[in-house]
């Protein structure tokens, strides 16, 4: 049996996010007013074996899925 896990990876506050800025600018160009603080991240979804521990999933994030110097991550199980 397996369970579904999703990991949301976002840039830490204070880390320049030029992609977020570009999206924000484009939304303004399209005529959407008052859009602020746009950020862009990644969503990683996976099926893991049922007995996978939270600690193991955290390790996956620390070692590969996120770069802890610049990114925060949030683990969710469906």
């Amino acid at each position: 049996m397996s369970k579904k896990i999703s990991v949301k990876v976002t840039l830490k506050k204070g880390v320049l996010d030029p992609q977020g800025k570009a999206i924000e600018h484009a939304l303004g160009t399209l005529g959407f007013q008052g859009v602020e603080n746009v950020t862009q991240g990644k969503l990683i979804e996976m099926d893991v074996a049922d007995d996978t521990t939270d600690a193991q999933i955290k390790e996956m994030c620390e070692q590969l899925l996120a770069n802890p110097v610049i990114e925060d991550y949030e683990i969710k199980s469906a």
């Binding site: 030029p18 110097v69 610049i70």
Partner: protein
């Protein structure tokens, strides 16, 4: 002396690097595929530029977990000289052999042009043929070269004199206008604490041969290789 250039799926600057090494030493380096697990008797290991694994997840993140990387980390701990350029620098960052991170360029563009670099600490094996404060002109070619470091990492870099190169103008002024990609403090390249490892975004190997715009990379390669010959 023996030099190894490590190649990954998506590496594309290995022959440029090999040409620069051959020009300096007269000897061709070995090209080593990333599936190898040992690196015996190499004096210098080079991680060249390219787009390993299509830059999936983060540039260099996949290569950082290739089979050869365990051996490269072990060699780094032993003090073997390692030189990473562009994607190779990104790999050294992703393996955490070097500190910090490399973000998308501030202007979101892939930048391919010649830039000026000011040599900072030149009291190292790598840069001893350059004069501190002197300017070299070499190309950059990257989309994710915007160096980032937390205040802790930055003060560590300063305390240990680990900054190798900063983006500057032709006169050597380190300014915002001369900052090619938005890197914090204009940092273009850094050493590890022991100065046995150098990682940099610009391509000095593409400033060595007579048909290239400048040959400003030559003293760097002479420094890197001569002490080992």
């Amino acid at each position: 002396m023996k030099t190894a250039i490590i190649t990954f799926p998506g590496t594309n600057r290995e022959n440029d690097m090999a040409a620069a090494v051959k020009l300096t030493t007269g000897k061709s380096p070995d090209l080593i595929w990333h599936k190898e697990t040992t690196l015996e008797n190499y004096d210098l290991i080079i991680l060249p530029g390219g787009f390993s694994y299509g830059d999936y997840l983060r540039c260099g993140a996949m290569a950082a977990h290739s089979p050869i990387m365990k051996e490269i980390i072990a060699q780094a701990e032993k003090g073997t000289r390692i030189f990473g350029v562009c994607n190779g620098f990104q790999m050294l960052i992703e393996t955490r052999i070097l500190p910090g991170a490399l973000l998308k360029n501030k202007n979101l563009k892939f930048i391919c042009k010649n830039v000026h670099l000011r040599s900072e600490n030149t009291d190292t094996h790598f840069t001893k043929h350059l004069k501190e404060g002197s300017v070299i002109e070499v190309p950059v070619a990257h989309g994710d070269g915007n160096y980032f470091a937390t205040p802790d990492i930055l003060s560590d870099l300063a305390a240990n004199d680990q900054v190798a190169f900063r983006y500057c103008d032709a006169q050597g002024n380190v300014s915002e206008e001369a900052n090619a990609n938005g890197s914090i403090d204009n940092i273009a390249g850094i050493y590890n604490k022991r100065k046995t490892i150098l990682g940099m975004m610009p391509h000095p190997e593409n400033a060595t041969l007579s048909h290239q715009k400048t040959q400003d990379g030559v003293p760097l390669f002479e420094g890197i290789l001569n002490g080992l010959m």
